[in-house]
Amino acid sequence: MSMTKRSIWPTLGFLLLLLVVPLGFYFYDNAFYLDLATRLVILGIAATSLNLVLGYGGLISFGHAAYIGIGAYAVGIPVYHEFYGGFDSIASTNGLFQIAIAVGIATLFALITGAISLRTKGVYFIMITMAFAQMAYYFFLSLDEYGGDDGLVIEVRSEMPFMDMDSPVQLFLLCWMSLVVAMLIVRTIVHSRFGMVLQGAKGNNERMVTLGYNTYVYRLTAYVISGAMCGYAGALMGNFSSFISPAMMEWGRSGELMFMVILGGAATTLGPVLGSAAFILLEEIFSSVTIYWHLPFGLLLIGVVLFARGGLTGMFRGRGN
């Protein structure tokens, strides 16, 4: 919680770095790092959305990968029908249409699952959000028409006004700008009256209820906003990978999103992005050394939780321990 105003410069600096370095590599004929950065930025949006409920709301959602999957399928399924017929009403390659579907279904999914999940607390909330995400996972797994287990190749990227999603640079720029907007949205929300109530309920729910706040409704609202944003990230992910499979929404993926938020620093603007950057880079480094990269990764997370409470942002601010 910000008692003192924190400088905004590290955040701006890091975002700028995130913009300039991958583009620099790209123009020096190294497209790989732009690819890596695009994935990083998309995961950054997802982690930022998760941070709204996990960091600021204290609600440990273990099911946010479901929204990425929903968003990506909202791109893949309309494209599939455009190419192979059937379901004419949703067959489309129009990006705005696909994004509207992605955000709309993610909102609905968050509203329904959130309304039920938020009736529970603590470890039960963790379990039930995970259970709902697994339901979504098995739902897509069972849809044979869309490849089931094998996933679905997205034949063409979304058609967007004024831009070409097939251009790696333009896609990256869209993702980067989306990240900045997502961070601004979350930052604005958490500083608003709504955000104060949300954070108050995280610190002491009973107190907030006694003050007259129906914290359930505030939390549900935050949960829905978060789900919608994460669904949007999913639509970007579908465009980026041109492929979608249920594996993208498995519970392990949800865990990775939590990992990013906690590693980077929950309840900070930059934290989730820093966390996704660290995640992507470490994954890249460890997995090039050993296929058993999850082990050092896990140890690292334990280390962060034990020794650097507040995550990477906390360490840099000297608040570690």
Binding site: M3, T188, S192, E206, M208, T210, L211, G212, Y213
Partner: protein, 247 residues
């Protein structure tokens, strides 16, 4: 005197134990009504039912004439009931001012406002600062709540209850854990509220109770065994026997 709060045949049991056993109580507008009783008499359980934290098994609670027995806790604050907690209940990772400003905000329309930074809304911040000045915590406003002493936390509890603008304050042992000097300060402050607010006060500190209360009810094993002015309670043989420990 019109009763602001009217409790009729209230009952709440946990297993076989009746924590609230057929309680009848009226709190008049503007009075300071103290509830005393030995540990485990059911005082906090009673307050929790009034604030909505716990649901009674039967009986009714009326506030300003309206039946609120089954109303959820968050609606009661809006009707004008605020409570302080025996065990300090604050948002520890927010600043002192944030805590009080959230109480002001609670009675300032709905909080589904997403754009303007809450810490820049002057009427919320000013009202909260003013409240902190009143309880003597003016210079602590910008501190993290966790950094304050226990006595200061107790004062924050009062400031928060007041900041909601509620008519009825349910104060659950405001003196709990305070040193003699802090207790005296708290009593002096609560005295200032006489006539301005209606207070239902639970307190173990008998000096404080007799200094503050207009009326006192004695709760023993969930039952109210006597209600009266401080003098009447002092003279009540049953009370002396059951509670004050005299033959």
């Amino acid at each position: 005197m019109a009763a602001l709060l009217e409790i009729r045949n209230l009952r709440k049991s946990f297993g076989g134990v009746a924590a609230t056993d057929d309680v009848n109580l009226e709190v008049a507008m503007g009075e300071i009504h103290a509830i005393i009783g030995p540990n485990g008499a059911g005082k906090t359980t009673l307050i929790s039912q009034l604030s909505g934290g716990q649901k009674p098994d039967r009986g009714s609670i009326r506030f300003r004439g309206a039946n609120i027995t089954r109303r959820p806790a968050y609606t009661r604050a809006r009707l004008g009931i605020a409570r302080s907690f025996q065990i300090t209940s604050l948002v520890m990772d927010m600043s002192v001012l944030d805590n009080v400003a959230l109480a002001v905000q609670a009675s300032d329309g709905h909080s589904f406002r997403f754009l303007k930074p809450a810490r820049s809304i002057t009427h919320l911040r000013d009202a909260a600062r003013d409240m902190l000045l009143q309880v003597g915590l003016g210079d602590r406003a910008d501190q993290p709540t966790a950094a304050l002493s226990h006595g200061e936390h107790r004062l924050m509890e009062i400031a928060i209850a007041l900041a909601t603008g509620a008519e009825l304050l349910l104060l659950d042992e405001p003196m709990a854990g305070l040193g003699p000097e802090e207790s005296t300060q708290m009593v002096a402050f609560l005295k200032l509220l006489r006539g301005k607010k209606t207070i239902l006060l639970i307190e173990h500190d008998m000096d404080a109770v007799f200094a503050l209360a207009d009326r006192i009810s004695v709760l023993v094993y969930g039952k109210i065994i006597a209600t009266g002015t401080p003098d009447e309670i002092r003279g009540n043989v049953e009370v002396r026997h059951a509670y004050l420990g005299e033959e």
